[in-house]
């Protein structure tokens, strides 16, 4: 009853093919964009920006990238941390070595470095599938770990191996304050989300989904697996690379090779699994969940324990986080493999037919 599309008739192909054909959806997205671009900068505190919003925006972008590879194309990848690292260090090298390099081209070039790296380590996907591909991408992760630790050229030969960037600015506007960082990342996220959504709606997205569902049948009907899989790796690595560069430049400011360890890869995979494989919204929901859960547990567990009189140490909170993540992954994979996004769309469907059950 709330979501009925009665009377919303389309009179042009353009109207029919838009991303949000239902008017209520368009209003909702407009409200979200207003909330994100206008309301949040006005109302959010520094804490909100630095601990929640900025990491969420950057991780959502990375999750969209991982979702394209894992959710839409079905290629399990445990090397997302490596792609972030390559994007970050690539962007850093362009930014630091080329005098007066502007920020956005540096980020894009970092993304392109990640694309090359991703396509290279995506080559095994042409021969292996599933778990074995996961192991091959894990090799990418450890290779990147080694590369940035031992090849000093990438870290500009600093003795400590730690690099940093400062004085970022876009078209003369400095990106120093939390608000400017947030808006910059948010703009890039919106562009990337639009790009990703249109890609997955189009021919190439359908190719990816065909490969995911049954790659032999896809090959039979004329989809070239090599192009489909490698293009998925390329697009996904580009997005993850740009997200990695943003994570390093904007959120961390100064980082070392261990910042993009295998834990980041797992975190991204969890985001995509919990958020929903094969949906753009899943990236957003998963990122929000993974970012918010530790903060929530940090506050809630001592509070709940205090109510029954037990004192909780940080160790317990840290371990509980891991246990809850593990439990949730298993629960989602069994009960709802399509994750939170599917729960959301079920909710929407219920709202459409309410008060009827179906």
């Amino acid at each position: 009853m709330f979501y009925r599309e009665n009377g919303q008739l389309k009179t042009s192909y353009q109207a029919d093919q838009q991303i949000f054909p239902i008017a209520q959806d368009r209003w909702f997205i407009l409200a979200m964009l207003l909330l994100a671009f206008v309301v949040a900068p006005l109302l959010a505190t520094d804490y909100w920006f630095s601990a929640i919003l900025i990491p969420f925006v950057i991780m959502a972008m990375a999750a969209i990238g991982v979702n394209i590879l894992v959710g839409y194309c079905g290629q399990i990848s445990l090397g997302s941390g490596a792609f972030m690292a390559v994007g970050a260090y690539g962007a850093y090298n362009f930014f630091a070595r080329v005098p007066d390099m502007p920020l956005i081209p540096a980020l894009i070039l970092g993304g392109l470095c990640a694309t090359v790296f991703g396509v290279l380590f995506g080559l095994p996907s042409l021969r292996v599938r599933g778990l074995y591909l996961a192991v091959a991408t894990l090799a990418a992760q450890f290779f990147a770990d080694w590369m940035f630790l031992r090849i000093k050229w990438f870290t500009l030969d600093t003795p400590s191996g730690s690099v940093s960037v400062s004085n970022l600015q876009v078209f003369g506007l400095p990106i120093e304050s939390d608000v400017s960082k947030y808006l910059f990342c948010l703009t890039l996220l919106c562009l990337v989300a639009l790009l990703a959504k249109n890609l997955v709606r189009g021919a190439i997205g359908r190719e990816w989904m065909a490969i995911r569902d049954m790659d032999v049948a896809a090959a039979v009907i004329g989809i070239r697996p090599m192009y489909a899989k490698l293009s998925a790796f390329a697009v996904s690595s580009f997005i993850i690379g740009v997200a990695g560069a943003l994570w390093a430049f904007i959120y961390m400011g100064s980082w070392e090779p261990s910042a993009f360890s295998v834990n980041e890869s797992f975190r991204l995979l969890f985001m995509v699994i919990i958020g929903g494989l094969g949906s753009i919204m899943g990236g957003f929901l998963g990122a929000a969940f993974i970012i918010l859960l530790p903060i929530f547990l940090n506050q809630a567990l001592p509070f709940i324990a205090g109510m029954v009189g037990i004192e909780i140490s940080t160790t317990v909170v840290s371990h509980t986080e891991l246990m809850i993540f593990g439990g949730l992954i298993v629960w989602f994979l069994i009960v709802e493999p399509h994750g939170l996004a599917k729960l959301w769309s079920i909710g929407k469907q219920k709202m459409r037919v309410w008060p009827f059950p179906y």
Binding site: L149, S160, Q299
Partner: protein, 440 residues
């Protein structure tokens, strides 16, 4: 059936909403964030440090706080991970911290970039960037009581003394087994400088973090047969290194560890096997008879308020945590002397306090550190304040001091600090602070 669900969801949403709103600091409370790690491969060493730190803060509160300003603190688990440390820093930033200590050199690098903008001093007692001793460039960093170049230099001095003089080192081989991270790479410039001057060979042997796999490294040590091995590890890397040294038969007497590789946790697994292993200490060692240890046992642990086990009190890392907390608290007290006794200090004011810290021997004795620490006096140009170290050796049961008080050689240290700090300043486009700026 519906009501409990509604009630539960209401409770959860209330907790969630409150979890993301910053807690307002009440008046007359000085907040100190404690970035610690009690999980992960560095937990065995990080936990006693955190226990010592928190116990000292509890002791301060028992005595009424800093001139009646109570200390509040909150621990945040970082797992020695830089990104998590940054997250903790950002999360706790809103509570107006007096200073932040990271207990991780990697995190120090990251937070050094953020702290000046947030106006929070970074206190790094015995770790962090060695060049941050130069206060003219690093206004907000305080590596008080010693940096890694001090440690490396005094280790080399001890080795030279053992050999019978610097000239006897010519042609000898020294291997540095280090944790492949910013922490482990810190001493390399200084030891390379010493190698250049005195003509000994330095072999660099990096160990991939966390350092549980060292068989290949120690095989290389066995092949190369260096005259001395300098161990620059942390966490499980230390005990693994000593076990591997025992397995490959490398004499533990020829091993010298940094002050983060010379604690009970590193040797107690091997006990007798680590006999003869030396480590440099940052002023204090294992001091079970110190006044402060007795006070903490009597006033905190006897009342069941101890953060960790009683046996830890007086051990090396526990004391280091106590020392770090003491220096931070004295920095706040010193700020109060100038900006108002009994008032809550802001980060900027605490920065001034840490920059004008004057811990004389009588003051240290009164605080309970008699015979444990030597005077520390910081200034605008010198954020280190003191560079006293000693060597202690494990005799199978205890750490015993086997050297006199040593100091790092200023002739080598000062130019290196200045050159590296200048490089940083050029990179970040900072100008050196001058005399006028020092008064703020």
């Amino acid at each position: 059936m519906k009501k409990p669900v509604l009630l539960l969801s209401a409770l959860l949403s209330a907790v969630m909403l409150s979890s993301v709103s910053p807690v307002l600091a009440q008046s007359k409370e000085q907040f100190i964030p404690v970035l610690s790690y009690r999980t992960g491969p560095y937990a065995p060493n990080g936990t006693p440090w955190a226990n010592g730190f928190v116990d000292y803060l509890k002791l301060m509160n028992l005595k009424g706080g800093i001139n009646n300003v109570k200390i509040t603190y909150e621990e945040c688990e970082t797992g020695y991970d830089t990104a998590r440390s940054v997250e903790c820093y950002e999360r706790l930033k809103s509570k107006k911290p007096s200073f932040v200590q990271t207990l991780s050199t990697g995190a120090t690098f990251a937070i050094t970039e953020k702290a000046p903008g947030d106006k929070i001093p970074v206190l790094t007692v015995g770790y962090g960037r060695s060049e941050s001793a130069d206060g003219a460039v690093f206004k907000w960093n305080f590596p008080i009581a010693g940096t890694y170049w001090v440690a490396a230099d005094t280790i080399m001095q001890a080795i030279a003394k053992k050999e019978g003089g610097w000239d006897k080192l010519k042609g000898k081989k020294v291997a540095l087994v280090y944790h492949d991270s910013p922490f482990g790479k810190e001493p390399i410039p200084l030891i390379q400088e010493r190698a250049r001057i005195h003509g000994f060979e330095l072999q660099l042997l990096p160990v991939t973090p966390p350092g549980v796999e060292q068989k290949a490294t120690w095989l290389q040590v066995r092949q190369a047969k260096p005259d001395y091995v300098v161990l620059w590890g942390w966490g499980v890397m230390n005990s693994t290194a000593i076990k591997e040294a025992q397995a490959t038969g490398y004499a533990r007497e020829k091993m010298y560890g940094v002050w983060w590789a010379g604690a009970e946790q590193d040797v107690k697994d091997v006990a007798d096997g680590a006999k003869g292993y030396n480590a440099v200490t940052i002023q204090h060692g294992a001091e079970p008879n110190a006044d402060i240890v007795k006070t903490l046992l009597a006033q905190i642990h006897a009342k069941g308020q101890g953060t960790g086990p009683k046996e830890e009190v007086g051990q090396v890392l526990y004391l280091r945590g106590v020392m770090s907390a003491m220096i931070g608290v004295e920095g706040i007290r010193s700020a109060q002397e100038r900006f108002g006794k009994g008032k809550v200090m802001t980060g900027e004011q605490v920065r001034w306090g840490l920059e004008n810290l004057n811990l004389t021997q009588p003051k240290l004795d009164a605080l309970g550190f008699k015979g444990v620490m030597r005077p520390i006096s910081t200034s605008c140009m010198d954020h280190m304040g003191a560079a006293w170290t000693r060597i202690h050796t494990w005799d199978g049961k205890n750490w015993v001091f086997t050297s006199d008080w040593m100091q790092a050689d200023e002739q080598i240290l000062k130019p290196l600090v200045k050159a590296t700090a200048d490089k940083y300043a050029a990179e970040k486009k900072l100008t050196r602070r001058t005399g006028q700026d020092c008064q703020s």
